[in-house]
């Protein structure tokens, strides 16, 4: 049911309903009491005309008695009484009709009035004659008075009976009316009570229905069911305000939950990445530890050999062994996981000297590096595997040329290692570049497959690419290109930060 007075507050509406019901019922009760009072008055006044007629009769009788006394004794008191009672009776017969009537009672009242007026006239004549000491005439008029009075009493009796009958009918009718009025009023009171109850019930239900909806929705939300409909109530009432606030609260809770889910996903992702890195690092560390025994022994042996060569005067051998020892020293030393480009370049120098000794004139190494300091950090042992890879796969048995370039740019430093070999297998290149170290299982399987292709020093391209991407969180940090003039070119984009 649509409640009128839209926009009014709940308190106002409920108060209006209750007060309206009270006013309505009170008004009805007042009407009921008023009508009952009216009927009771009418019932009580049913015989009023009889009482009035009796009073008229009494006054007329007193008047006649006074006249009788005056005629007999001629006293002042009697004449005063006569006029007094005449005046009193005149006041009482005002309701008698002035003209004849077809109604029986009214006609009788008319006749009574005519007789009373005649009685007044005769009485007046008798008094005038008595005052004039004309006793005969006074007696004559008094006798007429008596005759008239006697007839008047008879007519008054008849009128009284007529009035009594009519008033009895009226009384009976009024009693019936009072009974009907009381019964009907009580029935109507009951009906109105039911109607008012229905109206108040429907109104209050309509007013509180939104509250019920709100409570059911709140219960659903309390049970973590956030898929609830929005109220979209634009009323300016308290309900409207609550609905809008509830809508906002529901939306906020949904957004907050979405954020929490997003954040949790991100944290999980980060945690997985960190674990992956740790895993890779641990694997590298393990490999390093496994290799640590031989390098230490080899390193000490090389140092001993270098001292022997220096004692024996074999300077080249001594230098060679020192370079090999430095190379292994860098390899063994674990000063954190990261190294600068310059440190990596120094290692390359050692490695290239060793490879020069091995390959002689067949190995040409060109280093295009400026004299500037390159302090950008990158994981250790990145460049050496690349150079080694170039030598290993680019050497065709005749001559191999490896070019190392470092090109500082505004936001990054490009480090490239290229060879003049037969070039890189495209499928293998695609597999390497599509390698995603953040997908744990895939990266593991891929790295195993790719590592199987790369034999030798144990640090394959897979290891290099994975470590670079995990370290810089970028995919474009490493690329494999075709070298201009043939061969393969490894390109590293090291951020300057």
């Amino acid at each position: 049911m649509r409640i009128p007075f839209k926009g009014k507050s709940i308190r106002w509406r409920i108060m209006f309903c209750v007060i309206s019901a009270i006013i309505f019922m009170t008004l009805y009760m007042l009407v009921f009491i008023f009508l009952n009072q009216q009927m009771l008055e009418r019932l009580g006044g049913s015989y009023q005309t009889n009482a009035q007629l009796t009073e008229v009769s009494t006054q007329i009788a007193n008047m006649e008695k006074s006249l009788e006394n005056y005629i007999a004794y001629k006293t002042f008191e009697s004449i005063d009484s006569f006029y007094h009672f005449q005046a009193a009776s005149e006041e009482l017969i005002y309701w008698f009709p002035e003209s004849p009537s077809t109604d029986r009672v009214l006609q009788k009242e008319y006749v009574v009035k005519q007789l009373i007026l005649t009685l007044y006239s005769f009485g007046k004549e008798a008094v005038v004659a008595q005052r004039a000491n004309n006793e005969d005439k006074a007696q004559k008029w008094f006798e007429k008075c008596l005759a008239c009075y006697e007839m008047l009493q008879g007519q008054i009796e008849e009128l009284n009976i007529l009035l009594m009958r009519r008033n009895a009918d009226i009384y009976s009718e009024n009693r019936g009316r009072l009974l009907v009025l009381t019964q009907l009023s009580l029935a109507l009171l009951l009906v109105f009570f039911v109607l008012v109850f229905i109206v108040v019930y429907m109104s209050v239900t309509a007013i509180t229905k939104p509250l019920s909806d709100i409570s059911s929705v709140a219960l659903r939300i309390a049970h973590q069911d956030f898929d609830v409909p929005l109220f979209k109530n634009n009323d300016s009432t308290e309900i409207g305000t609550i609905c809008r606030a509830f809508d906002r609260m529901t939306i906020s809770i949904r957004e907050y939950i979405d954020k929490i889910w997003e954040k949790a996903a991100q944290e999980t992702e980060l945690r997985e990445k960190e674990m992956e890195m740790r895993e890779l690092y641990a694997a590298a560390q393990l490999r390093a530890l496994q290799n640590q025994i031989n390098p230490h022994f080899l390193f000490n042996t090389l140092n001993t050999g270098a001292q022997l060569a220096m004692i024996e005067g074999a300077d080249k051998t001594c230098y060679f062994m020192e370079q090999v020892a430095d190379f292994f020293r860098y390899n063994i030393s674990q000063k954190g996981q990261a190294a600068t480009i310059d440190e990596e370049l120094a290692l390359i120098d050692n490695f290239v000297y060793i490879m020069k000794v091995r390959f002689g004139e067949r190995f040409e190494f060109i280093k295009n590096v400026s004299n500037e300091k390159h302090s950008q950090l990158l994981p250790r042992m990145i460049l050496q595997p690349l150079v080694e890879n170039c030598i290993k796969h680019g050497y065709d048995g005749s001559k191999i040329r490896v070019v190392l370039s470092v090109e500082p740019e505004l936001y990054m430093t490009k480090v490239s290692v290229s060879d003049n070999g037969p070039g890189f297998d495209p499928e293998l290149r695609k597999s390497l570049l599509n390698l995603n170290p953040e997908i744990k299982d895939e990266s593991k399987s891929d790295s195993k497959n790719l590592s199987s292709d790369s034999d030798g020093n144990g640090t394959g391209l897979v290891n290099v690419i994975s470590r670079l991407r995990l370290y810089f969180h970028r995919y474009d940090v490493f690329d494999i290109l075709e070298n201009e003039g043939g061969g393969t070119k490894f390109l590293l984009r090291i951020p300057n930060v």
């Binding site: 049911m1 009418r42 003209s99 109604d103 009672v105 006609q107 009685l119």
Partner: protein
């Protein structure tokens, strides 16, 4: 479904509310409505006319009253009948006339009885004579404006003619006289009747006058005997009392309709006997017409200052359906 229920509830609500409002107005009309609307429908009139008479003539005067009252509206007058209800409440005519004078009516219609009592006509409060129309007996010394009387000679003639017609001019008639009524009107009636019947040579007329010599019981026995012996074909009664008495006797011996009765008079009892067929024909004075005539004469006098001095009442004949 829920909406339909709601609409039904609202519809019922409004219907109940409308009915309740109707009943509230009904209650208000109950509480404030007039009890008796006879006073409201009553009409005030300009004139007041009284019809007076003694209790013996009550039936006759009631008919007069009915006739006079039928013209009351036309003359804007209220007509009242003042007749003592019974013999116990007997008042003489003079006291009734005095009463009438005390009420200052515009006119009086009075039925004068057959008596030698002196009647003093009333005056109103202003000592002016009240116009009076007299009925029944005519007293020349009374200051009436008009007299409406019965032509008993004509009535006697009419009864004789009806009797002759009933007997088809042949048979025996018994004229019954039981009641104590032997005034001049009765004599006139009887004379006219016998004179007219004497012209029919084949009709034998017997006058049975039980009034002087015998009591009522013995006269009744004689009448019964006469009826059972079928010595007469028709009984003629000249007063309403005689007619009723003879009709009762005929009913007692179960001879209703087997012997003719021609009666004279008016009233409910006679009307019943006529309807039953016990009384064959009933002649009566048209008293209602007398009442209407009296009112007309009275108001002609009030308005124009003159009226007809003497008016003869019409005689009406009613026949029983069972002849």
């Amino acid at each position: 479904m829920k909406t339909r229920l709601k609409v039904s509830v609202i519809f019922l609500f409004f219907v109940t509310f409308a009915l309740s409002c109707f009943y509230i107005f009904y209650l208000i009309s109950l509480a404030f409505g007039k009890n008796d609307d006879s006073a409201l429908t009553a009409k005030s009139c300009s004139h007041h006319v009284l019809i007076l008479g003694e209790s013996e003539n009550e039936s006759f005067l009631s008919s007069i009253y009915d006739g006079a009252r039928s013209l009351g509206q036309a003359y804007d007058c209220v007509v009242e009948l003042y007749v003592p209800k019974n013999h116990a409440a007997r008042k003489n005519l003079q006291s009734l006339l005095n009463f009438a004078s005390f009420t200052n009516p515009d006119g009086i219609i009075v039925c004068i009885p057959e008596s030698d009592e002196k009647i003093e006509f009333p005056e109103n409060i202003m000592d002016n004579e009240i116009p009076v129309v007299t009925l029944a007996q005519y007293h020349p010394e009374l200051p009436q404006i008009s007299y409406i009387g019965t032509n008993y000679s004509e009535v006697g003639r009419k009864i004789a003619m009806e009797s002759a017609e009933y007997l088809s001019d042949r048979g025996r008639i018994a004229v019954i006289n039981v009641a104590d009524d032997s005034g001049p009107n009765y004599s006139t009636l009887m004379n006219s009747l016998t004179n007219t019947l004497s012209s029919h040579s084949e009709i034998q007329t017997v006058v049975l006058d039980f009034n002087n010599s015998r009591n009522i019981d013995s006269s009744g026995a004689d009448i019964k005997k006469m009826i059972t012996q079928k010595s007469v074909e028709l009984l003629v009664c000249l007063t309403s009392e005689d007619t009723i008495r003879v009709a009762q006797l005929v009913s007692e011996i179960h001879m209703d309709g087997k012997i003719g009765i021609i009666g004279f008079g008016d009233g409910d009892v006679l009307e019943t006997y006529l309807n039953k067929g016990t009384v064959t024909e009933l002649l009566s004075i048209d008293s209602e017409k007398i009442g209407r005539t009296a009112i007309k004469e009275l108001f002609e006098y009030i308005r124009q200052g003159y009226a007809n001095n003497y008016i003869a009442a019409d005689v009406k004949v009613r026949r029983s359906g069972k002849k």
